[in-house]
Protein backbone atom coordinates (compact mmCIF):
# COMPACT_ATOMS: atom_id res chain seq x y z
CA UNK A 1 0.00 0.00 0.00
CA UNK A 2 1.22 3.48 -0.86
CA UNK A 3 0.12 6.51 1.15
CA UNK A 4 -0.44 9.80 -0.69
CA UNK A 5 -1.27 13.03 1.11
CA UNK A 6 -4.16 14.87 -0.57
CA UNK A 7 -2.14 18.11 -0.45
CA UNK A 8 -0.19 16.67 -3.38
CA UNK A 9 -3.45 16.33 -5.27
CA UNK A 10 -4.39 19.95 -4.50
CA UNK A 11 -1.11 21.35 -5.82
CA UNK A 12 -1.03 19.07 -8.88
CA UNK A 13 -4.54 20.02 -9.95
CA UNK A 14 -3.91 23.71 -9.32
CA UNK A 15 -0.85 23.65 -11.56
CA UNK A 16 -2.54 21.57 -14.24
CA UNK A 17 -5.52 23.96 -14.46
CA UNK A 18 -3.11 26.82 -15.13
CA UNK A 19 -0.93 24.79 -17.49
CA UNK A 20 -3.82 23.47 -19.61
CA UNK A 21 -5.30 26.94 -20.07
CA UNK A 22 -2.09 28.59 -21.23
CA UNK A 23 -0.16 25.89 -23.11
CA UNK A 24 -1.69 23.64 -25.72
CA UNK A 25 -0.23 20.13 -26.00
CA UNK A 26 2.33 19.48 -28.75
CA UNK A 27 0.02 17.16 -30.73
CA UNK A 28 -2.58 19.94 -30.99
CA UNK A 29 0.01 22.58 -31.94
CA UNK A 30 1.45 20.28 -34.62
CA UNK A 31 -2.03 19.60 -36.00
CA UNK A 32 -2.85 23.32 -36.27
CA UNK A 33 0.48 23.99 -37.97
CA UNK A 34 -0.13 21.14 -40.40
CA UNK A 35 -3.67 22.41 -41.04
CA UNK A 36 -2.34 25.89 -41.87
CA UNK A 37 -0.15 24.30 -44.55
CA UNK A 38 -2.85 22.23 -46.20
CA UNK A 39 -5.90 24.51 -45.89
CA UNK A 40 -6.99 25.53 -49.39
CA UNK A 41 -8.91 28.65 -48.41
CA UNK A 42 -6.87 31.84 -47.99
CA UNK A 43 -9.30 32.98 -45.30
CA UNK A 44 -8.95 29.64 -43.57
CA UNK A 45 -5.16 29.78 -43.66
CA UNK A 46 -5.27 33.30 -42.28
CA UNK A 47 -7.45 32.18 -39.37
CA UNK A 48 -5.21 29.19 -38.63
CA UNK A 49 -2.18 31.47 -38.61
CA UNK A 50 -3.99 33.76 -36.18
CA UNK A 51 -4.68 30.78 -33.95
CA UNK A 52 -0.97 29.94 -33.95
CA UNK A 53 -0.15 33.54 -33.08
CA UNK A 54 -2.78 33.38 -30.35
CA UNK A 55 -1.06 30.32 -28.85
CA UNK A 56 2.29 32.13 -28.83
CA UNK A 57 0.82 35.20 -27.14
CA UNK A 58 -0.94 33.02 -24.56
CA UNK A 59 2.31 31.27 -23.70
CA UNK A 60 4.57 34.29 -23.67
CA UNK A 61 2.28 36.71 -21.88
CA UNK A 62 0.40 34.21 -19.71
CA UNK A 63 -3.02 35.14 -21.08
CA UNK A 64 -5.41 32.18 -21.31
CA UNK A 65 -5.62 30.78 -24.86
CA UNK A 66 -9.38 31.32 -24.76
CA UNK A 67 -11.40 33.46 -22.33
CA UNK A 68 -13.66 30.46 -21.75
CA UNK A 69 -11.29 28.62 -19.45
CA UNK A 70 -13.94 25.99 -19.14
CA UNK A 71 -15.52 23.81 -16.55
CA UNK A 72 -12.75 21.66 -15.06
CA UNK A 73 -13.27 18.05 -16.14
CA UNK A 74 -10.97 15.78 -14.15
CA UNK A 75 -10.19 12.14 -14.76
CA UNK A 76 -8.75 10.38 -11.70
CA UNK A 77 -7.24 6.96 -12.36
CA UNK A 78 -6.41 5.67 -8.92
CA UNK A 79 -4.22 2.63 -8.35
CA UNK A 80 -6.00 0.21 -6.05
CA UNK A 81 -2.96 0.04 -3.75
CA UNK A 82 -3.13 3.76 -2.98
CA UNK A 83 -4.42 5.13 0.30
CA UNK A 84 -5.12 8.86 0.62
CA UNK A 85 -4.53 10.71 3.87
CA UNK A 86 -4.83 14.30 5.07
CA UNK A 87 -8.45 14.85 4.07
CA UNK A 88 -11.21 13.81 1.69
CA UNK A 89 -9.91 13.32 -1.86
CA UNK A 90 -12.87 15.00 -3.51
CA UNK A 91 -12.48 18.12 -1.37
CA UNK A 92 -8.83 18.22 -2.41
CA UNK A 93 -9.74 18.07 -6.10
CA UNK A 94 -12.20 20.97 -5.79
CA UNK A 95 -9.64 22.91 -3.75
CA UNK A 96 -7.06 22.42 -6.50
CA UNK A 97 -9.51 23.82 -9.05
CA UNK A 98 -10.38 26.73 -6.73
CA UNK A 99 -6.71 27.65 -6.30
CA UNK A 100 -5.83 27.11 -9.95
CA UNK A 101 -8.65 29.30 -11.27
CA UNK A 102 -7.98 31.96 -8.62
CA UNK A 103 -4.19 32.18 -8.75
CA UNK A 104 -4.07 31.56 -12.50
CA UNK A 105 -6.42 34.46 -13.37
CA UNK A 106 -8.74 32.01 -15.09
CA UNK A 107 -12.39 32.80 -15.72
CA UNK A 108 -14.96 31.59 -13.24
CA UNK A 109 -17.63 30.14 -15.48
CA UNK A 110 -19.62 27.88 -13.16
CA UNK A 111 -23.12 28.65 -11.85
CA UNK A 112 -24.39 26.77 -8.80
CA UNK A 113 -28.00 25.96 -9.48
CA UNK A 114 -28.53 25.52 -13.24
CA UNK A 115 -31.95 27.19 -13.08
CA UNK A 116 -31.15 30.03 -10.66
CA UNK A 117 -27.69 30.50 -12.23
CA UNK A 118 -25.67 32.28 -9.55
CA UNK A 119 -21.93 32.12 -10.26
CA UNK A 120 -20.08 30.09 -7.62
CA UNK A 121 -17.20 32.55 -7.89
CA UNK A 122 -14.35 30.03 -7.90
CA UNK A 123 -15.15 27.73 -10.85
CA UNK A 124 -16.04 24.85 -8.53
CA UNK A 125 -17.38 22.27 -8.47
CA UNK A 126 -15.27 20.31 -10.92
CA UNK A 127 -16.66 17.40 -12.94
CA UNK A 128 -14.81 14.35 -11.62
CA UNK A 129 -14.61 10.89 -13.17
CA UNK A 130 -12.92 8.23 -11.04
CA UNK A 131 -11.65 4.88 -12.12
CA UNK A 132 -9.76 2.26 -10.16
CA UNK A 133 -6.73 0.82 -11.95
CA UNK A 134 -4.04 -1.69 -10.98
CA UNK A 135 -0.92 -0.48 -9.16
CA UNK A 136 0.01 2.21 -6.65
CA UNK A 137 0.02 5.33 -8.77
CA UNK A 138 -2.52 8.08 -9.40
CA UNK A 139 -2.91 9.38 -12.96
CA UNK A 140 -4.67 12.72 -13.20
CA UNK A 141 -5.95 14.38 -16.37
CA UNK A 142 -7.31 17.91 -16.16
CA UNK A 143 -9.34 18.82 -19.25
CA UNK A 144 -10.98 22.27 -19.00
CA UNK A 145 -13.98 22.18 -21.35
CA UNK A 146 -15.36 25.29 -23.00
CA UNK A 147 -19.07 25.42 -23.65
CA UNK A 148 -19.18 26.91 -27.13
CA UNK A 149 -18.37 23.44 -28.39
CA UNK A 150 -19.89 21.54 -25.45
CA UNK A 151 -23.29 23.01 -26.34
CA UNK A 152 -22.97 21.55 -29.83
CA UNK A 153 -22.45 17.99 -28.56
CA UNK A 154 -25.08 15.31 -29.05
CA UNK A 155 -26.25 11.85 -28.05
CA UNK A 156 -28.05 9.62 -30.55
CA UNK A 157 -29.75 6.46 -29.29
CA UNK A 158 -29.66 4.61 -32.61
CA UNK A 159 -31.29 1.29 -33.45
CA UNK A 160 -29.08 -1.74 -34.18
CA UNK A 161 -30.46 -1.71 -37.72
CA UNK A 162 -29.06 1.79 -38.25
CA UNK A 163 -25.63 0.15 -38.32
CA UNK A 164 -22.38 1.81 -39.25
CA UNK A 165 -24.08 4.14 -41.74
CA UNK A 166 -26.26 5.41 -38.90
CA UNK A 167 -23.18 6.06 -36.82
CA UNK A 168 -21.53 7.99 -39.65
CA UNK A 169 -24.66 10.08 -40.23
CA UNK A 170 -24.91 10.86 -36.53
CA UNK A 171 -21.36 12.22 -36.40
CA UNK A 172 -21.71 14.18 -39.64
CA UNK A 173 -25.04 15.62 -38.47
CA UNK A 174 -23.57 16.77 -35.16
CA UNK A 175 -20.64 18.44 -36.93
CA UNK A 176 -22.85 20.08 -39.52
CA UNK A 177 -25.24 21.42 -36.90
CA UNK A 178 -22.30 22.73 -34.87
CA UNK A 179 -20.96 24.62 -37.90
CA UNK A 180 -19.30 27.91 -37.00
CA UNK A 181 -20.59 27.88 -33.41
CA UNK A 182 -18.13 25.29 -32.14
CA UNK A 183 -15.04 27.28 -33.18
CA UNK A 184 -13.74 25.01 -35.94
CA UNK A 185 -11.30 23.44 -36.63
CA UNK A 186 -12.72 21.01 -34.12
CA UNK A 187 -11.65 17.80 -32.49
CA UNK A 188 -14.50 15.30 -32.51
CA UNK A 189 -14.74 12.81 -29.64
CA UNK A 190 -17.06 9.89 -30.32
CA UNK A 191 -18.32 7.18 -27.98
CA UNK A 192 -20.04 4.17 -29.55
CA UNK A 193 -21.87 1.54 -27.52
CA UNK A 194 -22.33 1.06 -23.80
CA UNK A 195 -25.31 2.83 -22.25
CA UNK A 196 -26.60 6.40 -22.42
CA UNK A 197 -24.03 7.74 -19.93
CA UNK A 198 -21.22 5.38 -20.90
CA UNK A 199 -21.12 6.56 -24.52
CA UNK A 200 -21.07 10.20 -23.39
CA UNK A 201 -18.18 9.53 -21.04
CA UNK A 202 -16.26 7.68 -23.75
CA UNK A 203 -16.76 10.60 -26.14
CA UNK A 204 -15.39 13.00 -23.52
CA UNK A 205 -12.45 10.77 -22.67
CA UNK A 206 -11.63 10.31 -26.36
CA UNK A 207 -10.94 14.06 -26.63
CA UNK A 208 -7.91 13.75 -24.36
CA UNK A 209 -6.33 10.98 -26.42
CA UNK A 210 -3.40 12.47 -28.40
CA UNK A 211 -4.90 13.44 -31.72
CA UNK A 212 -2.04 11.93 -33.70
CA UNK A 213 -2.82 8.52 -32.19
CA UNK A 214 -5.49 6.47 -33.93
CA UNK A 215 -7.72 3.82 -32.38
CA UNK A 216 -6.07 0.45 -31.74
CA UNK A 217 -9.16 -1.29 -33.15
CA UNK A 218 -8.70 -1.50 -36.92
CA UNK A 219 -12.42 -1.04 -37.66
CA UNK A 220 -12.63 2.03 -35.45
CA UNK A 221 -9.43 3.37 -36.96
CA UNK A 222 -10.91 3.15 -40.44
CA UNK A 223 -14.07 4.85 -39.19
CA UNK A 224 -12.01 7.67 -37.64
CA UNK A 225 -10.14 8.20 -40.90
CA UNK A 226 -13.24 8.11 -43.09
CA UNK A 227 -15.19 10.49 -40.85
CA UNK A 228 -12.31 12.98 -40.66
CA UNK A 229 -12.07 13.03 -44.44
CA UNK A 230 -15.81 13.50 -44.88
CA UNK A 231 -16.01 16.20 -42.17
CA UNK A 232 -13.27 18.06 -43.98
CA UNK A 233 -15.24 17.85 -47.21
CA UNK A 234 -18.16 19.68 -45.54
CA UNK A 235 -16.63 23.03 -46.42
CA UNK A 236 -17.28 24.57 -42.98
CA UNK A 237 -13.61 25.42 -42.57
CA UNK A 238 -11.70 27.44 -39.95
CA UNK A 239 -14.00 29.84 -38.14
CA UNK A 240 -16.91 28.51 -40.21
CA UNK A 241 -15.88 30.87 -43.01
CA UNK A 242 -15.29 28.12 -45.54
CA UNK A 243 -12.37 25.80 -46.13
CA UNK A 244 -10.97 22.32 -46.22
CA UNK A 245 -9.98 21.91 -42.56
CA UNK A 246 -13.08 21.63 -40.39
CA UNK A 247 -11.75 19.02 -37.95
CA UNK A 248 -8.23 18.16 -36.83
CA UNK A 249 -9.10 14.64 -35.68
CA UNK A 250 -11.91 12.21 -34.94
CA UNK A 251 -11.17 10.12 -31.83
CA UNK A 252 -13.48 7.15 -31.26
CA UNK A 253 -13.83 4.90 -28.22
CA UNK A 254 -16.23 1.98 -28.12
CA UNK A 255 -17.67 -0.49 -25.62
CA UNK A 256 -20.00 -3.50 -25.70
CA UNK A 257 -23.68 -2.61 -25.69
CA UNK A 258 -27.16 -4.14 -25.31
CA UNK A 259 -28.83 -6.31 -27.98
CA UNK A 260 -31.48 -3.58 -28.42
CA UNK A 261 -29.26 -0.52 -28.76
CA UNK A 262 -26.55 1.43 -30.58
CA UNK A 263 -25.80 4.56 -28.52
CA UNK A 264 -23.56 7.16 -30.17
CA UNK A 265 -22.28 10.25 -28.38
CA UNK A 266 -20.49 13.06 -30.19
CA UNK A 267 -18.56 15.41 -27.92
CA UNK A 268 -17.26 18.30 -29.97
CA UNK A 269 -14.25 20.31 -28.86
CA UNK A 270 -12.96 23.51 -30.41
CA UNK A 271 -9.37 23.95 -31.58
CA UNK A 272 -8.45 24.72 -27.96
CA UNK A 273 -8.58 21.03 -26.99
CA UNK A 274 -6.91 21.40 -23.60
CA UNK A 275 -5.64 18.74 -21.28
CA UNK A 276 -2.80 18.30 -18.84
CA UNK A 277 -1.78 14.91 -17.47
CA UNK A 278 0.35 14.01 -14.48
CA UNK A 279 1.14 10.95 -12.40
CA UNK A 280 1.59 10.95 -8.63
Amino acid sequence: MRIINVDLVVSAIKEMCIEANHFLSQDMKDAIEEAAKKEESVVGRQILEQLQENLNIAKQEMIPICQDTGMAVIFMEIGQDVHFEGGFLEDAIHEGVRQGYGEGYLRKSVVGNPILRKNTGDNTPAIIHYSIVPGDQVHITVAPKGFGSENMSRIFMLKPSDGIEGVKNAVLTAVKDAGPNACPPMVVGVGIGGTFEKCALMAKRALSRPIDKRSEDSGMRELEEELLERINRSGIGPGGLGGTVTALAVNIDSYPTHIAGLPVAVNICCHVNRHATRSL
Partner: protein, 238 residues
Amino acid sequence: MLPRKSPCHKKLVTESDGDRMADRLMCSELSQVGTVKEIEMNRHIEVPFLEASAASLRAGDCVYLTGILYTARDAAHKRMYEALERNESLPFDIRDGVIYYMGPSPARPGRVIGSAGPTTSSRMDKYAPILLDMGLKGMIGKGRRSQGVKDAVKRNGAVYFAAVGGAGALLSRSIVGAEVIAYEDLGTEAVRRLKVREFPVIVVADAEGNDLYDTAAQRYCREATVDCMNIGGAISQT
Protein backbone atom coordinates in the same frame (compact mmCIF):
# COMPACT_ATOMS: atom_id res chain seq x y z
CA MET B 1 1.79 46.77 -20.86
CA LEU B 2 1.08 44.92 -24.03
CA PRO B 3 2.72 46.15 -27.20
CA ARG B 4 0.36 48.43 -29.06
CA LYS B 5 -0.20 49.24 -32.66
CA SER B 6 0.16 52.75 -33.92
CA PRO B 7 -2.45 55.03 -32.39
CA CYS B 8 -2.91 56.64 -35.78
CA HIS B 9 -5.11 54.21 -37.64
CA LYS B 10 -5.31 56.43 -40.71
CA LYS B 11 -1.65 55.72 -41.25
CA LEU B 12 -2.29 52.02 -40.97
CA VAL B 13 -4.80 52.16 -43.81
CA THR B 14 -2.12 53.12 -46.26
CA GLU B 15 0.51 50.76 -44.91
CA SER B 16 1.35 47.86 -47.15
CA ASP B 17 3.22 45.64 -44.71
CA GLY B 18 2.84 41.87 -44.76
CA ASP B 19 -0.10 41.73 -42.39
CA ARG B 20 -2.14 44.20 -44.37
CA MET B 21 -1.45 42.37 -47.62
CA ALA B 22 -2.62 39.17 -46.03
CA ASP B 23 -5.77 40.89 -44.81
CA ARG B 24 -6.51 42.13 -48.29
CA LEU B 25 -6.06 38.65 -49.70
CA MET B 26 -8.40 37.33 -47.06
CA CYS B 27 -11.13 39.77 -47.88
CA SER B 28 -10.81 39.47 -51.62
CA GLU B 29 -11.34 35.76 -51.23
CA LEU B 30 -14.43 36.32 -49.12
CA SER B 31 -15.79 38.73 -51.68
CA GLN B 32 -15.76 35.94 -54.25
CA VAL B 33 -17.81 33.82 -51.91
CA GLY B 34 -20.35 36.45 -50.99
CA THR B 35 -23.29 37.50 -53.07
CA VAL B 36 -22.54 41.17 -52.63
CA LYS B 37 -21.15 43.08 -55.57
CA GLU B 38 -19.15 45.76 -53.86
CA ILE B 39 -16.91 44.69 -51.07
CA GLU B 40 -14.88 47.29 -49.28
CA MET B 41 -11.83 45.74 -47.75
CA ASN B 42 -10.14 46.61 -44.51
CA ARG B 43 -12.46 49.40 -43.55
CA HIS B 44 -11.61 51.31 -40.43
CA ILE B 45 -14.75 52.28 -38.60
CA GLU B 46 -15.37 54.40 -35.54
CA VAL B 47 -17.83 53.08 -32.98
CA PRO B 48 -20.41 54.02 -31.80
CA PHE B 49 -21.37 54.24 -35.45
CA LEU B 50 -21.70 57.56 -37.16
CA GLU B 51 -24.84 58.13 -39.17
CA ALA B 52 -25.77 55.15 -41.39
CA SER B 53 -22.23 53.78 -41.47
CA ALA B 54 -23.39 50.39 -40.16
CA ALA B 55 -25.85 50.04 -43.02
CA SER B 56 -23.07 50.53 -45.57
CA LEU B 57 -21.15 47.45 -44.42
CA ARG B 58 -21.53 44.23 -46.40
CA ALA B 59 -21.11 40.53 -45.57
CA GLY B 60 -17.47 39.62 -46.12
CA ASP B 61 -16.05 43.05 -45.29
CA CYS B 62 -13.06 42.95 -42.97
CA VAL B 63 -13.43 45.82 -40.56
CA TYR B 64 -11.25 47.32 -37.83
CA LEU B 65 -13.27 48.94 -35.08
CA THR B 66 -11.91 51.80 -33.01
CA GLY B 67 -13.83 53.42 -30.20
CA ILE B 68 -16.23 52.06 -27.59
CA LEU B 69 -17.82 48.61 -27.31
CA TYR B 70 -20.07 47.34 -24.53
CA THR B 71 -19.80 43.74 -23.37
CA ALA B 72 -22.90 41.79 -22.48
CA ARG B 73 -23.59 38.07 -22.64
CA ASP B 74 -26.27 35.73 -21.34
CA ALA B 75 -26.95 37.01 -17.83
CA ALA B 76 -26.58 40.72 -18.69
CA HIS B 77 -28.97 40.34 -21.62
CA LYS B 78 -31.51 38.66 -19.37
CA ARG B 79 -31.27 41.55 -16.89
CA MET B 80 -31.53 44.19 -19.60
CA TYR B 81 -34.55 42.41 -21.06
CA GLU B 82 -36.22 42.25 -17.66
CA ALA B 83 -35.45 45.94 -17.07
CA LEU B 84 -37.19 46.81 -20.34
CA GLU B 85 -40.17 44.68 -19.36
CA ARG B 86 -40.46 46.81 -16.21
CA ASN B 87 -40.17 49.99 -18.34
CA GLU B 88 -36.78 50.77 -16.81
CA SER B 89 -33.86 52.14 -18.77
CA LEU B 90 -30.81 50.20 -19.91
CA PRO B 91 -27.50 50.69 -18.07
CA PHE B 92 -25.92 52.38 -21.10
CA ASP B 93 -27.00 54.27 -24.19
CA ILE B 94 -27.30 51.66 -26.91
CA ARG B 95 -28.17 54.07 -29.72
CA ASP B 96 -25.68 53.55 -32.58
CA GLY B 97 -23.65 51.39 -30.22
CA VAL B 98 -22.04 47.98 -30.53
CA ILE B 99 -22.41 45.08 -28.08
CA TYR B 100 -19.60 42.53 -27.88
CA TYR B 101 -20.78 39.11 -26.71
CA MET B 102 -17.82 38.45 -24.46
CA GLY B 103 -16.97 37.57 -20.88
CA PRO B 104 -13.25 38.06 -20.26
CA SER B 105 -10.91 36.11 -18.05
CA PRO B 106 -9.60 38.26 -15.17
CA ALA B 107 -6.85 40.78 -15.93
CA ARG B 108 -3.47 40.09 -14.39
CA PRO B 109 -2.10 43.02 -12.36
CA GLY B 110 -1.07 45.87 -14.64
CA ARG B 111 -3.10 44.56 -17.55
CA VAL B 112 -6.28 46.03 -19.02
CA ILE B 113 -8.10 42.74 -19.49
CA GLY B 114 -7.50 38.99 -19.69
CA SER B 115 -8.34 36.74 -22.60
CA ALA B 116 -11.21 38.34 -24.51
CA GLY B 117 -12.63 36.42 -27.48
CA PRO B 118 -16.24 36.16 -28.65
CA THR B 119 -18.87 33.81 -27.26
CA THR B 120 -21.60 32.05 -29.28
CA SER B 121 -24.10 34.67 -30.41
CA SER B 122 -27.19 32.48 -30.87
CA ARG B 123 -27.80 32.44 -27.12
CA MET B 124 -28.56 36.15 -27.35
CA ASP B 125 -30.98 35.74 -30.27
CA LYS B 126 -33.98 35.97 -27.97
CA TYR B 127 -32.90 39.40 -26.74
CA ALA B 128 -31.21 40.98 -29.76
CA PRO B 129 -34.20 42.09 -31.91
CA ILE B 130 -35.68 44.40 -29.25
CA LEU B 131 -32.26 46.00 -28.66
CA LEU B 132 -31.80 46.50 -32.41
CA ASP B 133 -35.24 48.11 -32.61
CA MET B 134 -34.14 50.47 -29.82
CA GLY B 135 -31.14 51.65 -31.83
CA LEU B 136 -28.37 49.10 -31.28
CA LYS B 137 -26.38 49.10 -34.51
CA GLY B 138 -23.80 46.36 -34.12
CA MET B 139 -23.16 43.02 -32.44
CA ILE B 140 -19.91 41.07 -32.28
CA GLY B 141 -19.84 37.35 -31.55
CA LYS B 142 -19.38 34.07 -33.32
CA GLY B 143 -21.72 31.63 -35.02
CA ARG B 144 -25.09 31.80 -36.66
CA ARG B 145 -28.03 34.07 -35.86
CA SER B 146 -31.74 33.39 -36.09
CA GLN B 147 -33.84 34.73 -38.94
CA GLY B 148 -35.49 37.01 -36.38
CA VAL B 149 -32.17 38.67 -35.58
CA LYS B 150 -31.21 38.95 -39.25
CA ASP B 151 -34.58 40.56 -40.03
CA ALA B 152 -34.01 43.06 -37.22
CA VAL B 153 -30.51 43.80 -38.56
CA LYS B 154 -32.03 44.50 -41.97
CA ARG B 155 -34.92 46.71 -40.85
CA ASN B 156 -32.65 48.78 -38.59
CA GLY B 157 -29.67 49.18 -40.94
CA ALA B 158 -27.47 47.38 -38.43
CA VAL B 159 -24.70 44.78 -38.70
CA TYR B 160 -23.57 41.50 -37.13
CA PHE B 161 -19.83 40.86 -36.98
CA ALA B 162 -17.84 37.73 -36.17
CA ALA B 163 -14.50 37.82 -34.39
CA VAL B 164 -12.20 34.78 -34.49
CA GLY B 165 -13.43 32.34 -31.86
CA GLY B 166 -10.79 30.96 -29.54
CA ALA B 167 -8.30 33.72 -30.22
CA GLY B 168 -8.90 35.53 -26.93
CA ALA B 169 -5.25 36.25 -26.17
CA LEU B 170 -4.71 37.79 -29.61
CA LEU B 171 -7.92 39.84 -29.51
CA SER B 172 -7.10 41.20 -26.05
CA ARG B 173 -4.30 43.19 -27.65
CA SER B 174 -6.83 45.43 -29.39
CA ILE B 175 -8.52 46.33 -26.11
CA VAL B 176 -6.91 49.37 -24.52
CA GLY B 177 -9.40 50.13 -21.75
CA ALA B 178 -12.02 48.25 -19.77
CA GLU B 179 -14.32 49.23 -16.93
CA VAL B 180 -17.34 47.55 -15.40
CA ILE B 181 -20.35 49.86 -15.73
CA ALA B 182 -23.25 47.64 -14.63
CA TYR B 183 -24.22 44.37 -12.96
CA GLU B 184 -20.86 43.99 -11.23
CA ASP B 185 -22.21 41.04 -9.22
CA LEU B 186 -22.30 39.01 -12.44
CA GLY B 187 -18.50 38.76 -12.46
CA THR B 188 -17.28 37.97 -15.96
CA GLU B 189 -20.85 38.54 -17.21
CA ALA B 190 -20.98 42.16 -15.97
CA VAL B 191 -21.46 44.91 -18.54
CA ARG B 192 -18.09 46.43 -19.42
CA ARG B 193 -17.27 49.53 -21.40
CA LEU B 194 -14.31 48.63 -23.60
CA LYS B 195 -12.07 51.04 -25.39
CA VAL B 196 -10.80 49.31 -28.52
CA ARG B 197 -8.27 50.17 -31.15
CA GLU B 198 -8.27 48.41 -34.51
CA PHE B 199 -10.38 45.55 -33.23
CA PRO B 200 -10.55 43.03 -36.12
CA VAL B 201 -13.96 41.67 -37.17
CA ILE B 202 -15.67 40.30 -40.27
CA VAL B 203 -19.17 41.28 -41.34
CA VAL B 204 -21.43 38.20 -41.29
CA ALA B 205 -24.97 39.61 -41.52
CA ASP B 206 -25.68 42.96 -43.12
CA ALA B 207 -28.47 45.47 -43.75
CA GLU B 208 -29.27 43.87 -47.12
CA GLY B 209 -30.04 40.55 -45.47
CA ASN B 210 -26.86 38.76 -46.58
CA ASP B 211 -25.38 36.08 -44.32
CA LEU B 212 -21.76 35.13 -44.92
CA TYR B 213 -22.18 31.72 -43.26
CA ASP B 214 -24.82 30.82 -45.86
CA THR B 215 -22.34 31.16 -48.67
CA ALA B 216 -18.87 30.58 -47.20
CA ALA B 217 -19.03 26.79 -46.79
CA GLN B 218 -20.56 26.16 -50.23
CA ARG B 219 -17.37 26.87 -52.09
CA TYR B 220 -15.51 24.07 -50.36
CA CYS B 221 -18.37 21.63 -49.79
CA ARG B 222 -17.64 18.30 -51.46
CA GLU B 223 -19.61 16.01 -49.18
CA ALA B 224 -22.93 14.87 -50.58
CA THR B 225 -24.41 13.86 -47.23
CA VAL B 226 -23.92 17.30 -45.72
CA ASP B 227 -26.47 19.94 -46.61
CA CYS B 228 -24.08 22.79 -47.20
CA MET B 229 -26.83 25.37 -47.37
CA ASN B 230 -27.80 24.69 -43.82
CA ILE B 231 -24.56 24.54 -41.84
CA GLY B 232 -25.31 25.30 -38.21
CA GLY B 233 -28.99 25.36 -39.10
CA ALA B 234 -30.38 23.24 -36.31
CA ILE B 235 -29.31 25.56 -33.54
CA SER B 236 -30.44 28.88 -34.94
CA GLN B 237 -34.20 28.48 -34.88
CA THR B 238 -35.02 30.77 -31.90
